[in-house]
């Protein structure tokens, strides 16, 4: 019973902490963020296992975590309101060319990050070529270029 309770406790703790800390923009994950993630995973790993290093416990914890995550996904899929609580929601940073600086400041996203994603994904060169920029639930920034403004249309002269 104890491994199941430990797995549920750690899952809820991580869900709570990560949801409170907000979206981590994948565009600016630093080496320090990675080191922090490793430290968290090691610390939580120890709390999960405790003094019990048996194979059976490892199997119970792994299966419990997978089942809880699946239940989480099912709840989020079935009830849209719960999805916003459990999984966050996408956030529009640029809407029809209008930059929402307050949202960007809140999510610690810089204009450079959006432009970088625009260059990588859509081949756009300037801010006025971007129609929408959305910070997705995963932390990635997706860019939608204005019609005829993607890299393939050849706006290299600007």
């Amino acid at each position: 019973m104890e491994p199941v309770l430990r797995a549920i406790g750690c899952y809820l703790l991580l869900l709570f902490v990560i949801r409170l800390s907000g979206k981590l923009g994948l565009a600016h994950v630093t080496i320090f963020d990675l080191v922090l993630l490793l430290l968290i995973s090691q610390t939580v790993g120890q709390a999960l296992i405790g003094n019990d290093s048996s194979l059976t416990t490892a199997a119970i914890i792994t299966i419990t975590l997978i089942v809880i995550n699946r239940a989480n996904d099912t709840v989020a899929h079935r009830w849209a309101d719960m999805s916003h609580v459990l999984e966050d929601a996408p956030l529009v940073l640029i809407e029809n060319g209008v930059v929402h600086e307050d949202r960007m400041a809140r999510m610690k996203v810089r204009l450079d990050d959006i432009l970088e994603n625009g260059r990588l994904d859509e081949g756009v060169e300037r801010l006025d070529q971007i129609k929408h920029a959305i910070l997705e639930r995963s932390g990635a920034i997706s860019i939608i270029a204005k019609d005829g403004e993607d890299g393939g249309e050849g706006s290299a002269g600007g």
């Binding site: 019973m1 104890e2 003094n51 048996s54 194979l55 416990t57 199997a59 119970i60 997978i66």
Partner: protein, 137 residues
């Protein structure tokens, strides 16, 4: 379907199929045996498990003999209260306890062998109580 089968594993673990759980404890023994022994039906390798003895007739000193066939498959982490004497015989280990107010003794054991572990626990003047535990890897 596969998800439901997977979901049964944590439910079975909570019930006690893989060690400590809601229905995993078993109590053996009686007044005639000189006391009762409570333990888990299932254990996990290297995970602590308990053997709790309750003496029916607490006396000045109580001897508890645990068969080596059982005890040799465990590391004894701790015994509460501390026995005043421990003797090792050819087929059993005898723990002598001074009179404890609660008339109880608890053995904290750590399995170090996978499979079925069986043996007897005998309290002074009583009949042997059979204990059996299945240890998972």
């Amino acid at each position: 379907m596969a998800w439901w089968l997977l979901a049964l594993i944590p439910v079975a673990a909570i019930a006690g199929l893989f060690g400590d759980g809601l229905f995993s404890e078993v109590t053996a023994g009686s007044e005639r045996a000189g006391g009762t022994v409570t333990y888990e039906r299932f254990g996990r390798l290297t995970a602590d498990t308990k053997l709790e003895l309750e003496f029916a007739r607490p006396s000045r000193t109580t001897d508890v003999a645990i068969s080596r066939a059982f005890l040799d498959r465990y590391d004894t982490s701790e015994v509460r209260p501390e026995p005043v004497r421990v003797r090792t015989l050819s087929d059993a280990v005898v723990f002598t306890f001074a009179a404890a107010p609660a008339g109880r003794a608890t053995f904290f054991l750590q399995p170090d062998a996978v499979g079925s572990s069986g043996g007897t626990v005998t309290v002074t003047g009583g009949t042997p109580v059979r204990v059996k535990q299945l240890v998972y890897p």
